[in-house]
Symmetry: C2
Subunit: 235 residues, 2 copies
Amino acid sequence: MNIEVCHTPQAYSLFHKEEAIVVVIDIFRATSAIVTAFYNGVSKMIPVATVNEAKEYQNNGYLAAAERDGEVIEGFELGNSPFGYMNNKVKGKIIAISTTNGTQAIEASRKASKIVIGSFLNLDVLCEYLMVQKKDVILLCAGWKNKFNLEDTVFAGAVVEKLTSQGIYQIDCDSAIAAKHLYNLAKNNLFNFLADSSHRQRLAKLDLERDIKYCLTPNQCPVIPVMEGKYLVKL
Amino acid sequence: MNIEVCHTPQAYSLFHKEEAIVVVIDIFRATSAIVTAFYNGVSKMIPVATVNEAKEYQNNGYLAAAERDGEVIEGFELGNSPFGYMNNKVKGKIIAISTTNGTQAIEASRKASKIVIGSFLNLDVLCEYLMVQKKDVILLCAGWKNKFNLEDTVFAGAVVEKLTSQGIYQIDCDSAIAAKHLYNLAKNNLFNFLADSSHRQRLAKLDLERDIKYCLTPNQCPVIPVMEGKYLVKL
């Protein structure tokens, strides 16, 4: 089986394979928030591309989350901070969510036969799951507005490292090789390695260091969100 | 001034800036061949996107080069092996050239105010030139069929390393940060670092180790090809 890393939603169509499993990755912070939400008892989520769609769900009585450029959109209770999903208000609820990059990546990969959500928070359970599926894996980084970003790639590298170490998965993709190198440079201190990254800088301005530290701490939420029709549900 | 790395021609429009200098990079082997050609006295080159266009120039009496998937297209004298351009037959000539990735990258960046050609063969003169221009730089990797590749990115990292070491250029682009990391991992033995890369594997099948070693040896051809209208000329 092969494992590939796709850096941006824009490039996804070049990687699409009928039977592959797509792992959507948006470390700061959409997929970290989604994993946290399911770990805290959210029942379903509905990822949508536009803020208007999220608004419509809200008007129909759903909880709704909307974030652009790191900030919660006015009129919404939730954005993409994982800490927003750590309370009893979300338990058992269905939440519509639209974010700058993460939900765009889900949108880009809609045609995939299976889409799961990855983050450092569910790294080990995700890799264990992938290992037994025996299918090709496409690690789809959400990036930043269709540009490469470092934190999503470093996480993709962590998955590549784990999946290839068992000899079940092979790499024949340069972006997977590069991601693995970057993860190995970063792994002893993810926080420091990412200190200069553009998105860290962006979030630092928004005073989100607590979010960043949380999003970089592996295996706090051992759940795997998976797309089923228009819903994300817990596997 | 900023320096950015764009991994593929597909992504170029996201990076385009009116006044920036674009460096087109296709280490294996188009830009290495182009730099070699000018060093060996070629007068002008005409990069074209399609083999048909190259054929037309050939029919009109020009020397023409055409390569797809690493091999010279039947009916053409030249492909993208730098060694093809090391003889007196090319001296003073105008050569039309179409390659799998390199000329596509030139095509994608046509709107740029300045396009120059980069390779390890002209690394130092290129960096010295960029350093005095005092303009934003976009390092445009040709990649492989619009996917990221390792050798172009490692070269981009070498340029980032050199330009930022003087304090004139700044990075606010994650792909430039990543490229610099990859170059620093690779620089002591480029050949070994790239041994597993997908394109090395592709070229190994075509028995092109001599080309690879040549393309990875810095500063053998201190010339800078630059686009002027439809022509590449020596700066």
